[in-house]
Symmetry: C2
Subunit: 123 residues, 2 copies
DNA sequence: ATGACTGTTATAGATATACTAACACAGATT
DNA sequence: AATCTGTGTTAGTATATCTATAACAGTCAT
C-alpha cells in the first residue's frame, strides 16, 4: 500500500491519506481484516508526522471503515451502515452535481464519467 | 434567495453559503447577470459576519461562478472552463464512489441516486 | 526484566475560520 | 461642492484545526 502525498495541495494531509486508503479498500488492495501499517511506520514511509496518520485512521474509524486496537493497530472492518451512507452520499453528490450543472456539464456526461471512473479504477 | 445555515454542522459557514448559492445557480433561481445581495445585507439576513459572506463570494469567484465589482457587488457570471471542471469533478467523484463502494453501494444505485437528485432538485 | 512494538496523551507552533472595526472608493442626495 | 449611503477591502483579534515533537502507557516476545 504505497501512499503519495501532494504537499502543495490545499487538501489536508490526513485527508489525502484517508482518501487513498479508501481507494485501497474499494479496489480490494486492502481487504476486510487486513492490518494497516502502524502509525509510525506509515508516517516514516511517507515522511510525515505520526499524529497525522493517526488522525487519518481516526477519521476512517469514525466513518466505519476500520477498527483501532491498541495492540494490533488499525484493522480494516467495514460497518455497512447503509442508510447513513446513502444520506451522506446524496448530500455530497448534490453539491457536486449542482456545481457541474452550473458549468454546463450534462446529466449524461455525469453518468458517463461515473462509468469511466468505475472502469479505470476497477471499483 | 433564502439561505439557511446549520451552526451545528462541521462544515464551515462560508462553505454552506457557497453551496447554497451554487444550488441556486444550478436550479436557475439565480441567473447569469443577477446581482447577489451585498455582503452586509446577506450577513445581516442570516445572522453571521460580513466577512464570512465575503469569503463565500471569494470562493465562488475563484471557482468561476461570479465576478466581484467594488461598485456593484457580486454578479453571477459563469466561466465554463470545461476541462478544469471535468478534472476536478472526476477527482472528487472518485473519492465519493470509492467510499460508497466500500459500503457496498453498487454502481447501479449510484446512477439511480443521480437521477433522483436531478429530478428532486430540478437541476 | 528488558526491548521493541503498539496507540495515546500533552504540548506547541502554524494555518484557517469567523469576527469587530476602520478604511477607501463610487454614486446619489442634498 | 459637501454629505450620506452604499459597495468591497484591509487590519487586527480570538478561537479552532492541522501538523509536529516529546513523553507516556499498555502488549508481547525475548
Amino acid at each position: 500500500m504505497v501512499i503519495e502525498i501532494d504537499f502543495n495541495s490545499d487538501e489536508a494531509i490526513y485527508m489525502q491519506v484517508r482518501n487513498q486508503i479508501i481507494i485501497g479498500i474499494a479496489t480490494s488492495r486492502l481487504q476486510e481484516g487486513d492490518v494497516l501499517p502502524s502509525v509510525r511506520q506509515m508516517a516514516n514511509q511517507i515522511g510525515i508526522n505520526m499524529h497525522t496518520v493517526n488522525k487519518a485512521y481516526s477519521v476512517l474509524r469514525q466513518e466505519g471503515l476500520v477498527t483501532i486496537d491498541r495492540r494490533k493497530g488499525a484493522v480494516v472492518a467495514i460497518d455497512a451502515d447503509r442508510l447513513q451512507t446513502l444520506a451522506e452520499l446524496k448530500e455530497q453528490l448534490l453539491i457536486l452535481l449542482a456545481k457541474s450543472s452550473c458549468k454546463y456539464i450534462t446529466r449524461e456526461e455525469i453518468h458517463q464519467l461515473i462509468d469511466e471512473i468505475y472502469e479505470e479504477y476497477c471499483l
